[in-house]
Symmetry: C2
Subunit: 410 residues, 2 copies
């Protein structure tokens, strides 16, 4: 199974670039007529489109392109792992022999606007966006309007308390990601308004604090610069088998092998996880499965792109991957996963935090960056030398649905 | 590929029966522990849950059941064909060898309530439901709050004008469906408040009329009793291969064969269809494909369950199926498809109009009724004798995404 022709829009607040246009571009940009004609199945993810863009049935929006009219096109997705699931669905359709070539699309138009105050320009409606994202949590775990930041702030707090980690120690993570994104031409945060430093992270807005007067609320450690971005954007992959490769006019130099994958879903409510919140069973299962199938030994992974929706996910990733013992993820990350010259260069793209996080585009973008690293297609400042393979970890909901993909050089 | 263990809740306004409970019941009711343990993959459709029930990530709600925790569970769906797509996805996962047994679930909790006036009990919020359903239309084709009734009223009007069909001729269809539903124990409209007759249909509320004073609006022929129901409910199928059959402890007497299928998606906007609105290319393609694959000759189809979201879909089905020439669908339906003793007994379940239409449960329920007809499990008043096979046609959006399934006796 090959991954080919990765395509991606800029990630960011893409004013004037609307959902239906993105969907058509995702199936058109960078693909020639022959390649488009080879596509026999399309999987499309756009989790928030019904709620933020008043648009369901994205499949038929894709079918507006005459090249894809009357094809089987299916909407797929759980939560922030929807892009990974679209890729797995496209791959499954090729695997079962229905087509030689399938297309997976992930798209999100998140930056919906509300009127600005006092004649100022319209502003991203983060309250509504937060509320809609929050519908991917169990009703018992809702803290509107920002359920997911709140949930992950609690996870961060739990992690820090259990393992004696300080805010200062975690604050080194965002600057690393922003430094990478500065070289990623399609990243949302190529040029942040202010430089992101340990100091700026620590002094950035604390999202959840106890009210000084009423004593209500929770003091939680999450700060604004430890959160991923609200981004618009699309990403897409073409998936094919051996015959599809020649139908696309490509050689093995143009593609990576989808060598292993895993997907597992845990119970929606935090309470249903018992003591496993910090050691998510499904996420570990997905990782182990992908690695086993790909036959890549853990110590030989070339690059890793992981789902840093909040910075705490970076040490947790090291633990999910079984590289670090519980509680040892942060020192492991710092010693072994940070930087293109490290043992396992992680989130060299800038990650969700600085590359951006257009929800349903993210899973494909994680695998897309791994693809580009293996093919040597990333800017030289971010390029990992001798990169033969890579893993992407795409997580949805309250660490509830995880897609792990393993790719290597064809 | 076998379809087994069809399960369904009552369809209707199921007060007090909530979405998360339905999702658990769909994977539990009528399945023993051994059968549940055999399931290796789950596909779940619940199109309107994010908009009507503020709930995304249904997959993780399914995973709350310990039997399904840490399994691969994927949300799937386009529009009203989402249930059919969940079934196809489950079947695809078995076909490609990932598991011997998969589960497909379709669920919808549509009857959300708004406060009643003057101390009356809460009332189904049909305005909000209509608006949310309308997001499956192209922005150019929206007529809020009831975009789909309006779109199908236009299609009905177009059909009547082009082929010289009268309202009186079409009004015979709903009474046929309600008469069937009266015997279907799980139907929404087993006992309608008033008997449904040609006269009641003709005198029922006309949804779209020109305003007498302002002259605004359109006079369109669609009447309330020609529309499907706003229903809550779930349906589910277990899909398996030969080995799965024995894992489930079943024999061939318990199952039907999924012998053919087709799925095709046309462009979202009505304008993009050109002259094909009344002869939908994708729907015809899906039907032809399913029939070809199943090797069932058109004249040998035993039963048909079709997507009568509005009564005009019954004559259109005869034309989509190629049984009748364009414009000849209604007389064909009346002469050949109406009644259990007809050539091709159609919607003996009562159809979406009278059995009910919980959006994402519908596709599975169409195939479920075919399954029950073949296995002789329907009430005697609705039983088609010597039924060896059947077809279901499940349509989403503005006749934009169609799933056709062919089943026969194992």
């Amino acid at each position: 199974m090959y991954l080919a022709l990765y395509g991606q829009s800029m990630f960011g607040d893409l004013k004037g670039y609307e959902l239906l246009e993105m969907l058509v571009d995702a199936g058109r940009e960078g693909l020639n007529d022959e390649q488009r004609a080879a596509i026999g199945y399309i999987s499309v993810a756009g989790m928030l489109a019904p709620q933020l863009n008043d648009q369901h049935l994205l499949a038929a929006a894709v079918a507006m392109d005459p090249a894809y009219t009357s094809l089987p096109i299916v909407g797929v997705g759980n939560a922030c792992d929807s892009g990974g699931l679209a890729l797995l669905d496209a791959a499954k359709t090729v695997r079962c022999g229905d087509t030689h070539v399938a297309l997976a699309i992930g798209v999100e138009k998140m930056n919906i606007k509300k009127p600005g105050k006092d004649g100022k320009p319209p502003k991203t409606d983060s309250i509504k966006i937060g509320q809609m994202l929050g519908t991917a949590a169990h009703p018992d775990d809702r803290f509107p309007p920002f359920s997911f930041p709140h949930l992950f702030a609690r996870i961060m707090n739990m992690y820090m308390e259990r393992y004696g980690i300080s805010e200062e120690q975690l604050a080194i993570l965002p600057p690393y990601l922003y430094a990478n994104a500065a070289y990623n031409p399609l990243a949302h945060m190529r040029t942040p308004r202010n430089p992101i430093t340990v100091e700026s992270v620590l002094s950035s807005y604390r999202l959840f604090q106890k009210d000084g007067e009423t004593g209500e609320g929770e003091d939680l450690p999450l700060k604004l610069e430890e959160c991923s971005q609200i981004s618009d954007g699309y990403s897409r992959f073409v998936v094919c088998d051996e015959e599809g490769l020649s139908m696309l006019g490509l050689t093995k130099d143009d593609v990576t092998v989808l060598a292993g994958w895993g997907h597992a879903v845990d119970g929606l409510s935090i309470a249903s996880r018992g003591d496993n919140v910090l050691q998510p069973v499904g996420a570990k299962k997905a990782f182990v499965e992908a690695l086993r199938m790909s036959k890549i030994p853990p110590e030989c992974i070339g690059v890793l792109e992981t789902h840093d929706c909040f910075s705490i996910m970076l040490p947790l990733t090291a633990e999910i991957a079984g590289l670090a013992e519980p509680g040892q993820g942060l020192p492991y990350f710092v010693d072994h996963m940070m930087g293109i010259d490290s043992d396992l260069p992680t989130n060299t793209s800038g990650g969700l935090m600085a590359k951006g996080h257009p929800i349903s585009a993210t899973g494909l973008a994680l695998a897309g960056w791994v693809h580009q690293q293996i093919l040597g297609q990333v800017p030289v400042e971010l390029k990992v030398s001798n990169c033969e393979n890579g893993i992407s970890l795409n997580i949805g909901g309250p660490i509830a649905s995880t897609v792990c993909l393993a790719q290597y050089r064809a």
